[in-house]
């Protein structure tokens, strides 16, 4: 089951890389958030109440609160599509495939012998993380960059699942809270960028530079 979820997660990554409609990327990242947050159910040996609570909160934040917030930000913005990305959609999907191959290669190099460890977890995490960074670099619209950041956080979350249970749940709530507040702040700034520049194209943001 966990393998199926991880495969779907990576599939979402490829869909995100190939999609030009901003709204559909938000749906995709919401679904990816859902997949990533239910994964601990199938990986952990012991399901305690604190684990369930943690999964529920992650689910709430990653696949409901953040996407809904981004959806409302999108509604106020007139631009619905990403036009002229820095790297094209077909090229992006192709690069995504290459990233997957490289991640599997790296995953084989690091041989982790941890009890509950799923061998596919590490490559999937690295793929999601790298593709997130790639989205931030290769797209011009500010909202896609926020999605890239979210995808990156999902990848790190997957990598974090490799660690055995360390009882750091209280602090993991802190990570989630930071993520939530961070995306909300980005949304507010994004809204203001849209108001001031009539667009959310980050190439317009170039007045501050040296040389």
């Amino acid at each position: 089951m966990s393998n199926l979820i991880l495969t779907l997660t990576v599939l979402m990554v490829l869909f995100c890389l190939g999609s030009s409609r901003l709204l559909s990327i938000i749906y995709l990242i919401a679904f990816q958030g859902f997949l990533v947050s239910v994964l601990p159910f199938f990986i952990n040996d012991k399901i305690t109440i604190s684990v369930i609570l943690f999964i529920l909160v992650t689910l709430l934040i990653k696949s409901f609160l953040i996407p809904i917030f981004l959806y409302f930000v999108m509604k106020r913005i007139t631009i619905k599509r990403e036009i002229e990305p820095i790297i094209g959609y077909n090229g992006s999907v192709f690069l995504g495939l290459i990233i997957i191959i490289i991640s599997i290669f790296i995953g084989n190099k690091f041989n982790f012998h941890i009890n509950h460890h799923n061998t596919f977890l590490f490559p999937a995490g690295i793929t999601t993380l790298t593709s997130g960074i790639f989205l931030i670099i290769a797209r011009k619209k500010a909202i896609t960059q926020v999605i890239g950041y979210l995808m990156m956080e999902n990848g790190i979350y997957l990598l974090g699942l490799i660690l055995s249970n360390h009882n750091l749940n209280i602090i993991e709530f802190g990570i989630l809270l930071d993520l939530l507040v961070g995306v909300m702040l980005m949304g507010i700034v994004l809204h203001n960028i849209n108001k001031t520049f009539d667009d959310i194209d980050t190439t317009l943001l170039k007045s501050l530079r040296d040389l």
Partner: protein
């Protein structure tokens, strides 16, 4: 129980958003005073901590905490007059974010848990972003967007690095709390390969926040667009916090026998930062950006000194203290200029010595201080770093270091002289006043006092850090 004050300060910050502006100011001031009392109490009795599984008073943490506390008090004093003059429409966002920012930085300086320090550093980004955004101009929007995005992505990499540190323990089948103290105790049992990977991610991640080149691109924008008191706090206190996280991780690496690897990286990043700052300081049109590049340079010097180790590591900690004091005084003074001339461009500013004599004296004094002239502490710290480098036999590195410092000085001298002595026709808008001068006098005076008089407790603190690093570097 002293750390519980932190929760009160945090709640104060939240409360400011929901109360009247006048009461908000009162909360703003009281938070600073409470923070000072907390810091003094922690210095006197560093064992008195309630959340002792997450927080711990280390020597380096206390040094940074006392810098934060002292700076914040000076900045509050400046802000009284600043807020009167500028008439912000959203003043609650300014005061509230300042207090939240203060509590986040305090959490960084006290936290011992490797994940908690990440949460706290990300919280500093989030709480300081509204400060940059306060004027809602096109430029400040751009600066805020860059700040949030670059720093969040960078810090996310640091989280990955922190996970790798934990993983390096998991792989060996060890189970201990995820604190820096525990990691230091079992450092030589950790997996070496993963620990190296972890350090690279952590250095790049927190290095972004600290302003190390080539991840520094957000820093000049954010520091120049933020209002004066906020840029003073960003430069004087925030960068140190990010350094603290790198420093603590470096300590684990050294104890694990990987000191050569991590120190080399620190030296390389340090030199690159100084180099980038030197090139950009030679051609600058904005005096606040100039000061921001100076921050990049000084962070480079600190990273460099830490990497060299021994005497230079002592110098680096000394440099950190004096840089905070002098740089924040410079940023506060630059706000006086911004008030008077209404522009951040060097060409539109001039004849400071006639029009704003006291601010100009402060500016020149700060300039001498930051360039490393004798009455100020940076002279001593840079001297120690150079001596330490020579002592280690790194002659060529020392020569590059000195050359770069000279170039930075040349760039600064050119522009500072222009600001103070250039011709300027016309009048100034808002003249300087006592309230907006006293904090800078105090900051510079403290820097001089710390250079000439040795206080036992401060000295013992720094040398405790130093003994540690000297033992480590053999």
């Amino acid at each position: 129980m002293t750390d519980l004050v932190l929760i009160i300060i945090f709640l104060n910050g939240l409360l400011i958003f929901f109360t009247s502006i006048k009461f908000g100011r009162y909360l703003f001031f009281s938070s600073g005073i409470m923070h000072l009392i907390m810091t003094i109490a922690l210095i006197l009795n560093s064992q008195n901590i309630y959340f002792n599984s997450y927080l711990k008073c280390t020597y380096e943490g206390l040094v940074i905490l006392s810098i934060i506390s002292f700076l914040f008090l000076c900045i509050i004093f400046y802000s009284i007059s600043y807020l009167k003059e500028i008439q912000l429409s959203n003043e609650r966002i300014f005061t509230g974010s300042m207090v939240l920012f203060l509590s986040a930085m305090t959490l960084v300086s006290l936290s011992d848990n490797i994940i908690l320090i990440w949460v706290a550093i990300e919280a500093t980004t989030l709480s300081s972003a509204p400060l940059i955004f306060i004027h809602k101009s096109k430029k400040s929007l751009e600066a805020t967007w860059k700040y949030i995005l670059i720093c969040s992505v960078g810090i996310a990499l640091a989280l990955l690095g922190s996970f790798f540190v934990v993983l390096s323990m998991d792989i060996k089948g060890i189970n201990c709390p995820l604190t820096y103290t525990d990691f230091s105790n079992i450092a030589n049992l950790l997996d070496k390969k993963l620990l190296k990977a972890a350090f690279i991610f952590i250095l790049v991640g927190y290095g972004t926040k600290m302003g190390l080149a080539p991840m520094h691109t957000w820093l000049p924008d954010a520091h120049s667009e933020a209002p004066g008191p906020a840029s003073a706090l960003l430069s004087g206190a925030l960068l140190n916090c990010a350094f603290l996280a790198i420093y603590k991780t470096n300590k684990i690496l050294i104890l694990a026998g990987l000191g050569n690897f991590s120190n080399k990286l620190l030296i390389i990043f340090g030199i690159i930062s100084i180099f980038i700052a030197a090139t950009f300081a030679l051609k600058q049109s904005d005096y606040k950006r100039l000061l921001a590049y100076s921050s990049i340079e000084n962070m480079g010097i600190i990273a460099f000194g830490t990497g060299v180790g021994g005497l230079a590591a002592y110098g680096a900690i000394l440099h950190l203290i004096h840089h905070s004091l002098i740089k924040s005084s410079l940023f506060l003074t630059s706000q006086n200029y911004l008030f008077a001339y209404g522009s951040k461009l060097i060409d539109k500013v001039g004849n400071g010595i006639k029009l704003m004599p006291k601010s100009s004296i402060l500016f020149i004094a700060g300039f001498f201080g930051i360039s490393g002239f004798p009455p100020f502490g940076i002279f001593l710290s840079e001297f120690l770093i150079i001596m330490g480098t020579l002592k280690q036999g790194l002659y060529s590195v020392a020569i590059i270091f000195i050359m770069l410092l000279i170039i930075v000085f040349a760039g600064f001298a050119k522009y500072f002289i222009r600001i103070i002595f250039n011709n300027y026709d016309g009048n100034i808008k808002i003249p300087e006043n006592f309230q907006r001068l006293l904090p800078q006098y105090i900051l510079l005076a403290v820097s001089i006092i710390l250079t000439f008089f040795t206080f036992d407790f401060i000295n013992s603190y720094i040398s405790n850090i130093q003994i540690y690093s000297e033992v480590l570097h053999g």
